[in-house]
């Protein structure tokens, strides 16, 4: 599939009218790669045919899908806000009371381009109860390419616009040409490692907090159950698991219980299960 001049011009004008994003000439590959799935879903043989049909019918929901496909790939910092508020207000203070070594271990289990583990570390720095504590952060992902990006810690202007308070931006980042680079003080706290959640985990130790957000939705029930069982094995008995807003353990692995925490919820291993993790 390739995209012709007319189709590119139509999409470019559509995206410019609906958002502040300007797709410069040369971005044809981007438009094409993002629209191929939509073209296929709607039964069109090419992106050009899909766009020509779109330009004729101007179906509002399809127009919106096209704009979203071209504008919403950036992962947000502090995504969904509430889990990070819960970390700062209840989970981290609770751990600070029960851990004698002044150290907590956190696993971001699908870290993608790194926004999540860095957001967790920034939240830890904003938690007075953890002042002077060490946060040992493991960030894993299936994609080596994503891990390289996360490790490098450089983000585009569009990426730092997503959910990052301006005060946090100036505190933890510095300009690197057109990009922004996260401070070495944060990057040095994270161990990045390739890991496929579907396969048996390598030795990881025990974690006080696990972020496994918006990952389980991609798996079938049996795989979800297996992953949640293996996460229990690497969880401190009183550890806290964060899932995505649309995900839950109920009916998948009932050894977990959902505990309301602030405006969100966390999952903890049920008391009676804590000594007999299979």
């Amino acid at each position: 599939m390739s995209i012709g001049h007319d189709a590119f011009t139509f999409v470019r004008e559509l995206v410019r009218a609906e958002s502040a994003i300007v797709l410069e000439p040369g971005k044809e590959y981007l438009v094409e790669s993002r629209l191929v799935p939509l073209a296929r879903q709607s039964g069109h043989a090419s992106v050009d045919a899909f766009v020509a049909d779109l330009a004729t019918r101007r179906n509002p929901s399809t127009l919106r899908l096209v704009v979203e496909a071209l504008t919403t790939n950036e992962t947000s910092w502090f995504r969904d806000t509430d889990p990070f508020t819960t970390l700062r207000q209840s989970v981290f203070p609770a751990l600070a009371k029960t851990r004698s070594k002044r150290e907590i271990r956190v696993w971001a289990a699908a870290c993608s381009s790194g926004q999540e583990p860095y957001s967790i570390l920034m939240t830890a720095q904003d938690t007075p109860e953890l002042s002077g504590w060490k946060v040992d952060m493991l960030a894993t992902d299936l994609s080596q390419e994503m891990l390289d990006r996360a490790r490098k810690g450089e983000y585009s202007q569009l990426e730092v616009n997503r959910g990052l308070p301006a005060t946090t931006l100036v505190r933890h980042f510095e300009r690197a040409g057109l990009a922004w680079r996260i401070s070495p003080a944060l990057t040095s706290q994270v161990q990045f490692r390739e890991l496929n959640l579907v396969r048996p985990f390598p030795p990881l130790g025990k974690f006080d907090v696990v972020f496994l957000r918006n990952v389980l939705i991609y798996f079938d029930l049996a795989t979800k159950r297996d992953i949640l069982r293996r996460v229990r094995q690497v969880m401190a008995p009183d550890g806290h698991l964060f899932l995505g807003a649309a995900e839950m353990t109920m009916g998948v692995d009932d050894a977990w219980e959902r505990v309301p925490a602030g405006r969100s919820s966390v999952y903890r291993i049920r008391e009676e299960q804590r000594t007999c993790v299979p």
Partner: protein
């Protein structure tokens, strides 16, 4: 809830305005800082809760506008967000020091603006409809 958009670009006012209308705001507009001060003075009894302010404008720039707003106790409740192409770190620091509550760098997506509203406690009503 009312929002004031201060930008010398009509196209930019339209784009920001559309996102804010979807988020449940009524819109006031001004093409420069001085005109924005006049708009606020004319709406003293029913002030906007939010002002999205461009930096570079004729007559009065956004930084001066923000400084002027922060001098007036009666306008303290207005949340000020700089929305600009100026992306240098020291610019952000200057805007925050002058009294801006947030800073959004152009270009941006609708989602990015909505997330800023969320950070500012100005949660929109129809996030799902935005681009």
């Amino acid at each position: 809830m009312r929002a004031l958009i201060v930008d010398d670009s009509r196209a930019m006012r339209r784009i920001v305005g559309r996102i804010l209308v979807d988020a449940g705001f009524e819109i006031l507009e001004a093409g420069d800082g001085q005109e924005a001060l006049d708009v606020l003075a004319a709406h003293d009894g029913d002030l906007p809760v939010l002002a999205c302010v461009d930096w570079n404008m004729p007559v009065m720039d956004g930084l001066t506008f923000i400084t002027e707003v922060r001098k007036r106790a009666a306008w303290r409740a207005i949340t000020l967000m700089m929305v600009t192409t100026e992306s240098e770190q020291d610019r952000i620091v200057r805007a925050l020091a002058a009294g801006a509550h947030e800073y959004l760098i152009k270009p941006f997506t609708g989602d990015a603006l909505v997330e800023k509203l969320d950070l500012l406690g100005l949660t929109p009503t129809t996030v799902g409809d935005l681009v």
